[in-house]
């Protein structure tokens, strides 16, 4: 079952310039005199150390200890994630009053215990040293009384003069906040609420309204879909609700458990995380999304015996793939799903029509309880900017948005802002927009505030403060209450909202306090929707007419689009998994998170196909100047196999000027390249000219070699082979080593490569849990990133249709560990529980172990990364250090480190069992990477217990060990990847 693909080497050419090497060498040279000086200093210092006592340490107890906290014991609070509008349920771990780790809430019906990388990293944003310390007026720090007085005075004048007041916000999924805004509208007739999303879904929203007459987005159910077709929608990475979708998707990727496995077709321009996971990935130009949707619709309509009214369009799309996708969709009608990331309303209507004709409405496309995410409306923002320019807007409040950065014509927005008499920003820092506002009334971080969320209708989630506000901030809702002349107590407001709106519909007959206490404890509350069976969706005549006209429109547009000139290309803008729309730009964990597809950190780049790179004569790292009529942008190129040949891709969210020192100067801002069509923001455009800039800029990648060198590191099999094949008896290889004496436990991991999508949430979770330092771009360029877990990507096959295999790789905790035998000081040893331990205080830094590790998972501390000006990230300031896990040592310079299989959690689990007088049960202990995984791909447990989940996975047919042939006997095992290809 080995791979028969040829995998590539070295697609990225990264080389530190020769000059750098020369200067480094000069630094390293030591003269005899220097040596003696240092030697003398060391001797004197050790003598002094021998005579002196350590610094006096103080122990300061609580004056009066709060009942719920115990120093040294973690307290957990259920809350709701504020990283995006998906509103995933969280459990926040606090130690001695400080939130130090975010975990998914397993009670949540949507996210079910999973989180994403950016959600994990938001705990670090809480300790961002760049946050505003308090309110400002015209850039000068003032008191809250002062700023309130100034604002209230101007607001009163505006209300009296019947001037227009606007609240411009991102999507608000909090029903209480929406109620508060409704109250503003009721009280102030000239008040208006405008919502926009930097990465907009307004076309899907408009199409959904037109087809199903609902105000929301459909709630997609990938767990019910046997055939999934994605058209430019990165639903596992960034699209709408990636954690929830990954969880649903993964359920259908475990054939041995579920008996069925979904087949996934992905049509897309750039290679997305979702695309690398598809069974069939078809590169299309960014402008062809409509054509693909229409081609599928035509085939489905023929099967369904419906007239489409659209003529056949000869496009450059892969008809074979469309035919096989349509065939699979029709075969699994009612259990199939088509989603599209298009920002064209007609295309989205066509996609709705496909789902309707397939009978998916009500099964995989839930419109009964629609998703309330992404409420943005591009047209109303465009209208607002027009009004601002005309001087019709008197007051503007900006909440959770940064239009001076992400509005395509930011300069125009800034100009418009000048004519507004009162601008108030609730931003937590002086970002691009807040620095232009009159007043900045910094909002709490979401971990400091009360809030609620309803991302999907009837699925509620509560957020409670896990820490008292660190700075002199105030919840934006409190500010809104205050200026409305009400008591600024949003907690009371949320409670009152729940009492008046949610409690009356509670079907369980509880008092309000009971309901509230349960909801607060669980973090989530699901309103039982009355069981009245709604009749299955029947396409109305109006709906049919709507989609037929949309199909006609899409077809007409495809026909009219002239073939592009040979030297004109298309541009496709996308969000990365880490930085998203730029809001997380100042988070060093996310900047250093290797992109799941390209493995590049710290910055964005221009992705182009190998064939295009050859034509332009560029290689990865060469700077390319990209020109469109009204803008120019220079970025290093990255050559990505599988990229659509005529389309180049650039990530949004970079090039932040006012986010803070971490984000400053990283990448280039691509938002000015966003265009508008039919009132909707478009993330692709044509007519792009590319030109070599004649210089190069190395890309800080963590993986430059994508070949397995003929070894079966990631093993794959096909579904049919798996279902037909008997379990092979694997012969036990003879070992030169004596068997280890078994202890009471043998901890191990099993990682299911089939459900793992490579989303990299585990990398950030591990970083948060284990105090893994951020090293910065220069050190990543030297290959010195410190992540204990990495996601290896192996890419092979043909250049246009490559196959990517991903594999989480961390210390394999070998029973016969090669690192242990070469350590001269026994700093890495084997525990009686089967773990390979690394003892920092014993390590002298020979790095023999790193060299002898066949899995290359050991990391060396080349520098002291904490309290070091050269590494000016969170560990260099006292606020940022508050995120450190007190149960894990902060490593010093010169020692080796690596995955400990979260030994602090193992110890904690054992201790808890001991305190309760029982033995450790399966599932008691979860490693950080396991806990975060939205796909539930990583399972920790005791291999000595044959009934444990990990042992059962290990006994399964798909299980194998990486580099089994060298006899290291790892305690970490993998389950083979299955490709569910259509035979056609």
């Amino acid at each position: 079952m080995a791979n028969d693909l040829t995998f590539w080497k070295n697609r990225v050419h990264v080389e530190t310039s020769r000059e750098d090497l020369e200067t480094n060498r000069a630094d390293l040279e030591t003269s005899r005199r220097d040596f003696l000086t240092r030697m003398g200093f060391v001797l004197a210092a050790s003598a002094l150390a021998g005579c002196s006592r350590g610094a006096v340490q103080k122990a300061i107890p609580f004056l009066i200890k709060p009942e719920e906290t115990m120093p040294g014991v973690a307290t957990w609070y259920a809350s709701t994630c504020g990283a995006c509008s998906a509103g995933c349920g969280l459990l926040v771990k606090t130690r001695d009053g400080r939130p130090i780790k975010i975990e998914g809430n397993t009670e949540s019906p949507l996210s079910g215990g999973g989180t994403c990388a950016s959600g994990q990293a938001t705990v670090l944003s809480l300790y961002d040293a760049e946050r505003l310390k308090g309110p400002t007026w015209l850039g000068v720090p003032v008191t809250w009384q002062d700023v309130d007085a100034r604002i209230e005075e101007r607001l009163r004048a505006a209300m009296a003069g019947r001037h227009n007041l606007v609240l411009l916000s991102g999507t608000i999924v909090s029903p209480s906040t929406r109620a508060l805004i409704a109250e503003w509208k009721a009280r102030v007739p000239t008040f208006r609420h405008v919502v926009y999303d930097a990465v907009s879904f307004s076309a899907l929203r408009r199409a959904t309204g037109a087809c199903f007459a609902i105000d929301g987005l459909p709630h997609y159910r990938f767990d019910r879909a046997t055939t999934i077709v994605g058209i430019g929608a990165d639903f596992l990475g960034t699209w709408l609700s990636p954690v929830e979708f990954t969880r649903q998707y993964a359920r259908r990727r475990r054939p041995d458990a579920a008996g069925v496995m979904s087949r996934h077709y992905q049509f897309e321009a750039g290679v997305s995380l979702t695309g690398t996971n598809a069974d069939h990935r078809v590169p299309i130009a960014a402008s062809q999304q409509g054509a693909v949707a229409l081609a599928i619709l035509r085939r489905i309509a023929i099967e369904a015996g419906v007239e489409t009214g659209a003529e056949q369009v000869d496009g450059a799309i892969d008809e074979g793939a469309v035919a096989s996708a349509a065939e699979d969709l029709w075969r699994h009608r009612g259990a199939s799903l088509v989603v599209s990331g298009s920002q064209d309303t007609a295309t989205q209507i066509v996609v709705h029509a496909i789902n309707a004709l397939l009978g998916n409405i009500g099964t995989t496309v839930d419109i009964e309880s629609p998703s309330l995410q992404k409420q943005g409306d591009d047209r109303s923002l465009a209208q607002l900017v027009d009004e601002m320019e005309r001087g019709d807007i008197h007051g503007l409040m900006l909440y959770g948005v940064n239009p001076a950065y992400d509005f395509p014509d930011a300069a125009r927005f800034a100009r418009g802002l000048e004519s507004v008499a009162l601008t108030i920003s609730f931003a937590d820092r002086l970002d691009e927009t807040a620095s232009l506002a009159h007043a900045v009334c910094p909002d709490h971080h979401f971990l400091e505030a009360w809030n609620d969320a309803e991302a999907v209708t009837a699925s509620y989630s509560l957020a409670q403060p896990a820490i008292a506000p660190l700075l002199d901030t105030r919840a934006a809702q409190d500010s809104l209450l205050k200026w409305l002349g009400k008591e600024p107590d949003f907690y009371a407001y949320v409670r009152e909202f729940w009492r008046s709106h949610i409690h009356p519909t509670d079907a369980r007959g509880r008092t309000f306090d009971e309901l509230w206490d349960h909801a607060l404890h669980d973090g989530v509350y699901h309103r039982d929707v009355p069981a009245a069976k709604t009749p299955p969706f029947r396409p109305s005549r109006a709906f049919t007419a709507a989609w037929q006209s949309a199909a006609h429109e899409v077809g007409g547009r495809q026909r009219s689009s002239a073939a592009p000139a040979a030297d004109r290309y298309e541009l496709h803008l996308y969000e990365t998994v880490a930085i998203r729309d730029g809001r997380h730009a100042n988070n060093p964990w996310l900047q250093e998170l290797p992109d799941p597809v390209t493995k590049i950190t710290w910055g964005n780049y221009l992705v182009l196909a190998p064939s295009l790179a050859r034509r332009l004569g560029v290689e990865s790292g060469d700077v390319v100047r990209m020109g469109i009529p009204d803008a120019q942008i220079e970025l290093p190129a990255y050559v990505q196999p599988g990229q659509s040949p005529g389309t180049v891709s650039i990530a949004l969210g970079y090039g932040r000027q006012h986010a803070g020192k971490v984000a400053y100067g990283v990448g280039a801002n691509a938002f000015p390249l966003v265009t508008s069509f039919d009132g909707e923001r478009q993330y692709h455009r044509g007519g792009v000219v590319l030109q070599k800039a004649g210089r190069s800029e190395p890309l800080a990648t963590t993986q430059a070699h994508h070949s397995m060198e003929g070894r079966p590191i990631v093993r794959t099999t096909t579904l049919s082979a798996l279902l037909s094949e008997e379990t092979e008896a694997r012969p036990e290889a003879a070992s030169l080593w004596a068997d280890r004496e078994g202890g009471p436990h043998r901890w191990g991991l099993a990682i299911d490569l089939n459900s793992c999508t490579g989303c990299s949430a585990c990398v950030t979770a591990c970083q948060a849990e284990n105090n893994v330092p951020v090293v910065g771009r220069d050190e990543v360029l030297r290959g010195r990133e410190m992540h204990w877990i990495r996601i290896d990507a192996y890419t092979g096959g043909s250049e246009d249709h490559p196959e990517t295999l991903v594999q989480p790789m961390m210390c394999q905790h070998c029973q016969n560990a090669p690192c242990e035998t070469v350590c001269p000081v026994a700093a890495t040893t084997h525990s009686s529980d089967g773990l390979n331990q690394q003892v920092y205080n014993r390590c002298i830094g020979t790095r023999y172990c790193e060299n002898n590790c066949p899995y290359k998972v050991r990391r060396f501390n080349w520098f002291r990364y904490a309290q070091n000006e050269a590494f000016d990230f969170n560990m260099n300031n006292p606020v940022g250090r508050m995120v450190l896990n007190p149960d894990v040592t902060v490593r010093s310079r010169g020692v080796m480190e690596k995955c400990s299989m979260c030994i602090q959690r193992v110890q904690d689990g054992k201790l808890l069992a001991k305190q309760e007088g029982r033995s450790v049960a399966d599932g008691d202990i979860k490693t950080a990477c396991q806990q975060v995984c939205p796909a539930d791909s990583i399972v920790f447990g005791d291999l000595n217990d044959p009934e444990s989940r990990v042992a059962r996975m290990r006994a399964g047919q798909r299980h194998y060990l990486v580099l089994d042939e060298i006899g290291t006997k790892p305690n970490v095992g993998y389950l083979m990847k299955i490709k569910n290809r259509s035979e056609a």
Binding site: G50, R53, P71, S831, V839, R842, Q904, V920
Partner: protein
Amino acid sequence: MLRRFVFLATAIVCLISAGLVAYEMSRVGVHQGYAPEQPIAFSHKLHAGDSRIQCLYCHFGARTSRHAGIPPVNVCMNCHGMLTKQSVDIEKLKELVERRQPAQWIKVHNLPDFVYFNHSQHVISGVACQTCHGPVETMARVRQQAPLTMGWCIQCHRSRQVSDPHTPAANLDCGKCHY
């Protein structure tokens, strides 16, 4: 002869000083006998010895937490709120309560940052407080009785029997304390 004597004497002096240096180096960070003066002259002899107050009454964290903990002032006031006896130090304590400021005690037992020690683990296993802290009930001012070196820890870990295979007692894995 003289040269031999000088050589021998030098060698002996060198050896002795080398030995002394080596010994001193091995004691770096070892603070056995450390007994700092505290902001309030709290006597364990009076409380734990004469009055026989249980250790865990004040250091309740030792049962459930990594840290035994210094009692918050409200625990002190459980008794001192009712006792009429006064002294300079009790006055100091009451003044702290009025000023709403916790006492800044000097930590006596310090472990390096790379060691994980959990009180509750040991208390559950039936290790008496005095095993590590010495006869605190006789100390008017607490001093560090044990060397708190790794060798000293290991000595005990070696000798303790494995009672139940599922809740193993002390073992010698490095990862028991170092992570």
